[in-house]
C-alpha cells in the first residue's frame, strides 16, 4: 500500500500542476446565445422590474430627478442648468459608458463622470461611491437609456482598456483560483447553490438587488464576486474595476439597457 501510494504521488502532482497551469477556458458566448439575467429570473421578480409602480428602484430615480434640478456647490449650478432636460440630453448616455475621458487619458464610468461634473462645474465635493445621492443620480441618468442598445466605442484609444478588462475577466484569482469566465462563460445557466449563474451582462445597473434590500452599482456587484472567490476586492473607483466594467459592457454590446433593473 505504502509503496503504491508513493508511486502514485508524482502522477497526482503532475495532474495538479497541469490543472493550475491551464489557462481559464475562454469560449466566448456567441451573440445569438447572449441572455440578460432578466430572462433567468422568476416570473414574480420580472413583474417587479417591469412595473414602475412595483419596482423599488424607481424610488431612487425620483430622488435623482430632484437632485438633477437642485442647485449645488460653490458655483450654485444644477445639472439641469448645463444639461437641460435629462429626458432629452441624457438619452443613450448610460448606454455608452464607461467612455473615454481625455483629461484622465483613460475610460471613466458614469459615477466618475458625475463626480467630475460635481468637482469641476458645480464646485461641490464628490459624492461617495454607493451613497444614496450618487446612486439616485446614476439611476435617473441610466433610466433615460432604458430600452436602448449598449454602444461601446472600441476605437484605438479604448481597445487597450477593453483588453485589460478581458485579461482580468479571464485571469484566475483569489484563494478559490477562479476566473470570471469559468462561471459566466463556461457554466452559465447552471446553479451555484440555489442561484442560477447568469452570463454577467451589466444591462441594468444601478439595480435593486433583493438580497441587498437596496440599489447598488456594478462595482458593488463585482466586489461581491471577488469576495466570493476569496480575492481581495479593489477600492471603489479603481482603474481595474473600470476596465472590467468596460469589458463587460463591450461584451454586452447591442443588448438592451434595463436600468433600473431588479435582480434576486
Amino acid at each position: 500500500m505504502q509503496c503504491g501510494f508513493t508511486m502514485l504521488r508524482p502522477v497526482y502532482l503532475a495532474l495538479l500542476l497541469a490543472a493550475s497551469a491551464m489557462p481559464a477556458h475562454t469560449a466566448e458566448i456567441a451573440p445569438a446565445e447572449r441572455r440578460s439575467g432578466y430572462e433567468m429570473m422568476s416570473r414574480e421578480t420580472r413583474a417587479m422590474q417591469d412595473d414602475d409602480a412595483a419596482n423599488p428602484a424607481m424610488l431612487w430615480v425620483l430622488d435623482g430627478e430632484v437632485l438633477w434640478n437642485k442647485k449645488m456647490g460653490a458655483a450654485g449650478l444644477a445639472c439641469a442648468d448645463c444639461h437641460g432636460d435629462a429626458r432629452a440630453s441624457m438619452k443613450g448616455v448610460a448606454a455608452r459608458y464607461p467612455a473615454f475621458d481625455a483629461a484622465r487619458a483613460r475610460p471613466v464610468d458614469l459615477e466618475q463622470r458625475i463626480n467630475t461634473c460635481r468637482t469641476e462645474k458645480q464646485e461641490a465635493p464628490p459624492l461617495a461611491f454607493e451613497s444614496r445621492d450618487l446612486l439616485a443620480l446614476t439611476a435617473y441618468i441610466g433610466r433615460q437609456s432604458r430600452g436602448m442598445p449598449i454602444r461601446i466605442e472600441a476605437d484605438a484609444r479604448m481597445s487597450p482598456f477593453i483588453e485589460a478588462g478581458r485579461e482580468m475577466y479571464n485571469r484566475r484569482q483569489g484563494q478559490l483560483n477562479l476566473a470570471c469566465a469559468q462561471c459566466h462563460d463556461d457554466n452559465w445557466g447552471k446553479r451555484l447553490a440555489g442561484n442560477v449563474i447568469p452570463q454577467a451582462h451589466p444591462t441594468g445597473y444601478p439595480l435593486y438587488r433583493l438580497e441587498w434590500q437596496n440599489l447598488g452599482s456594478l462595482q458593488r456587484r463585482l466586489r461581491n464576486c471577488l469576495v466570493g472567490i476569496r480575492a481581495e476586492p479593489y477600492d471603489y473607483g479603481a482603474n481595474e474595476f473600470v476596465d472590467l466594467e468596460l469589458f463587460l459592457m463591450w461584451r454586452a454590446r447591442g443588448m438592451t439597457i434595463e436600468t433600473p433593473a431588479v435582480r434576486p
Binding site: 412595473d51 414602475d52 409602480a53 412595483a54 423599488p56 424607481m58 424610488l59 425620483l62 430622488d63 430632484v66 444614496r132 434590500q213 437596496n214
Partner: protein, 106 residues
C-alpha cells in the same frame, strides 16, 4: 429623503374593483443587528400604514421588524366615486409621509 409612490388607475367605472399599489423608501432597520464593534443598531422601522378614499379609511396595516426594506403593498377596493386616495406611512423617529393619487369614476 422620504419618498413614496402610490399608483392606481386614473379612471374607472363605478363598481369596478381597482388595485392600489403603495411603496415607500425605508431601510426597515430591525433593531436586532449590531455594528462590527458590537454596538446595537437601534430599531428604525415603519410601524403603521393607512389608506383613505375621500377621507374614509379603506385599508390599514401594522408593520413589524421582519418586513423587508422599501415595503410594497397592493390591495384592492371598489371604485365608488371620483376623488382622492391618500396613503400615509408613519414610524420610528418621527417618520411620516403621505402620498395621494386622484381617480375619476364615471
Amino acid at each position: 429623503m422620504t419618498r413614496a409612490i402610490v399608483s392606481l388607475p386614473a379612471t374607472a367605472r363605478r363598481g369596478d374593483i381597482i388595485e392600489i399599489k403603495a411603496i415607500a423608501a425605508h431601510a426597515m432597520e430591525t433593531g436586532f443587528r449590531h455594528t462590527q464593534l458590537g454596538v446595537p443598531i437601534p430599531r428604525d422601522i415603519i410601524t403603521g400604514f393607512a389608506c383613505t378614499y375621500n377621507g374614509e379609511e379603506i385599508f390599514r396595516a401594522v408593520f413589524y421588524p421582519a418586513i423587508a426594506a422599501n415595503p410594497y403593498l397592493t390591495f384592492s377596493t371598489v371604485a365608488t366615486e371620483s376623488g382622492t386616495i391618500a396613503c400615509s406611512w408613519s414610524g420610528d423617529n418621527g417618520y411620516s409621509v403621505t402620498e395621494s393619487a386622484a381617480i375619476t369614476v364615471a
